[in-house]
Symmetry: C2
Subunit: 341 residues, 2 copies
DNA sequence: ATTAATTTTGAAACCGATTTCAATTTTTCT
DNA sequence: AGAAAAATTGAAATCGGTTTCAAAATTAAT
């Protein structure tokens, strides 16, 4: 075990006090420029490395920010993380990332673990079966900021960064109606998740606005993965009267449906017009290209992180009250899968 | 600011010494079971939370493991991270993740930052322009284990978890040859990256083994993103004599090429047989399905992390010498894009 | 009952940087 | 030059667990 260089070593070497060394290295104004230079150089030469533990112990800060995502291996989530990492890195924070794997219990465990490792702030996209936010209470009590993004839950009290899912779904559905669709199937995930809950609402309102009756049979619940297409299309085939529009809450799943529909001989968009969600790479690569909602994951990550970091400055306590929910702009991108001339 | 409960508070409350409290909470054998119970309960009731800073300061461990990836928003990397997170979480470690964005300089900065935050170990997939491993020297000197995965560089000294890229490329190329291809284009990324370097070798050897001359014109360098298809196909069109096989080092890019080739009127696989790499979701969703190499990202993450954690136990120093490079099994998955009856 | 062996416990040093408060040095002003 | 003000510096306490070493308490052995 090598002996580490401490500020005491530097102090002894230069015949000054550890206090001065500490101040110099933190660029404290109350230390003479010459002494500073001297200390910098000595620290350099001796290969000094600040001991974060000791420093954290006093400052009570880790410069670590926790992120809890439902799944790491999701195209959307990894864009979000990329955006977060960029902002955090530039601001000198580290990212501690863990995944809940869509399990409430694992989310709770992760939350505890983040709390114990004393992250300075927490960013969370909720698991699909999370029913309460109790497990975040310790953070609130200690005034450690917690910001939710995307999966913000149906809880009013919390900060969150989302898109307007209702509006987006309304747009998507309206678009299908404008293309002549009258019987539109909506495929979505667990209704407990705000994201799907709101999209369903948007779907319903769009029907209402165009005087199309809502039909419960046209709602299909799914885990939305890339293999779900088969089952979904089987269900679709059995629906009477025939459907002519399909709005899937996720591009990978939409692509899977598209493939299966083509296998079954449906023409897209003539027989069934299809709209996805997310604007994943995949929506641009399958044939026909899938009309989708552009869902700005990277920006969402940047914004959520920037917001969190703002909360960390003690001076900006008022921000806490002013910013309750931030809504990012999303947009419908019309492509071949739904465009009827 | 709330006063935090410390072991001193508990000690005073129960009339024992802080030392005993510390030992009890760490389940040290040299403390009476009854006292332990008593202390556990008191700690519970008082809402005690261990202060990691103080604890780290002595133990010199953070329980944080650093991961540096080229990009977070990559389907492959996020699978790897998912695997790593699972193993780390189960073993009680946190993951600190940062991305190099394929920049050597950012990688160096991230490495420094990880070192300063005193991670217990480091997992790295190198940026494409990294030319030396100097920046990891401080880790080596302090005996902090560093393990590379996937992008391990062309450096012999290092531990690493990879697949046998040469063999995989050999298999892919041989398969195309067996389907009757004679003029096979290989699309790959920066040759400095071991992954592409080795795949090119595999491609060449496969040609050699089937007595097909190597033609420099059939090698196309690309950044392999999902929009690269257009340029690649333009190049392909200009190649004389015509090509009849295409081996792309990445599924997203292969899909992009596939789409573009179809737009240009090529029949797949009759005119050009296509093989990708990675077995990304996308390879199963485009039409025709893309023949590809199954690249076990999740397992690679698990394995790399398990390996790193092993290195952390001081008793297993011998492991260091025994394990130099771990090679994961990969396999060719034959699908319609290359299957000629 | 006495001694030896074993368990438990506590006092105090320690990890390394930060910070308060007072002391010292330097600069400025009459 | 002498006093007052400003700029630097240092001693020592502090953050909260962990650990060493020795003392005290308990159990086992003779």
């Amino acid at each position: 075990m090598e002996k580490e260089i401490t500020i005491y070593d530097i102090a002894k070497d230069l015949g000054v006090s550890p206090a001065t060394v500490s101040r110099a290295l933190n660029n404290h104004p109350a230390v003479n420029e010459k002494t500073k230079k001297k200390i910098y150089n000595a620290a350099m030469e001796m290969g000094y490395q600040s001991n974060v533990f000791a420093s954290n112990l006093r400052s009570k800060r880790t410069n670590n920010i926790g992120v809890i995502v439902p799944r790491l291996n999701s195209s959307f989530q990894s864009s979000v993380l990329a955006g977060m990492e960029k902002v955090a890195n530039e601001a000198g924070f580290n990212l501690i990332i863990s995944q809940s794997l869509e399990s409430k219990d694992k989310e709770i465990a992760n939350t505890h673990s983040m709390f114990n490792s004393r992250v300075d702030g927490l960013l969370v996209s909720l698991a699909s079966n999370t029913e309460s936010l109790e497990h975040f209470a310790p953070f609130i009590k200690k005034k450690i900021p917690v910001i939710f993004y995307d999966r913000v839950g149906n809880f009013e009290e919390m900060f969150g960064v989302t898109i307007d899912n209702m509006k987006a779904a309304h747009q998507a559905t309206s678009h299908l109606i404008e293309q002549g669709c009258q019987r539109i199937v909506h495929v979505l995930g667990n209704i407990k998740v705000n994201v799907y809950h709101e999209r369903l609402k948007g779907y319903k309102y769009a029907l209402l606005d165009h005087s199309i009756p809502f039909d419960e049979n046209l709602i299909i619940y799914s885990d939305l993965n890339e293999e779900a297409g088969y089952d979904i299309v089987q269900k679709i085939k059995s629906i009477e009267p025939r459907i002519d529009g399909l709005f899937v809450s996720n591009d990978a799943c939409a692509a899977s449906c598209l493939k299966q529909l083509k296998l079954e001989g449906y023409r897209i968009p003539e027989d069934i017009a299809v709209v996805g969600f997310n604007n994943d790479v995949i929506s641009r690569l399958v044939e026909p290209n899938i009309t989708t909602i552009n869902y700005p994951g990277y920006e969402m990550g940047e914004l959520a992180m920037r917001n969190l970091i703002n909360h960390l400055d003690v001076n900006t306590e008022n921000l806490l009250k002013n910013t309750n929910r931030i809504t990012l702009r999303s947009e419908l991108i019309i492509r071949e899968s739904s465009k009827r001339k």
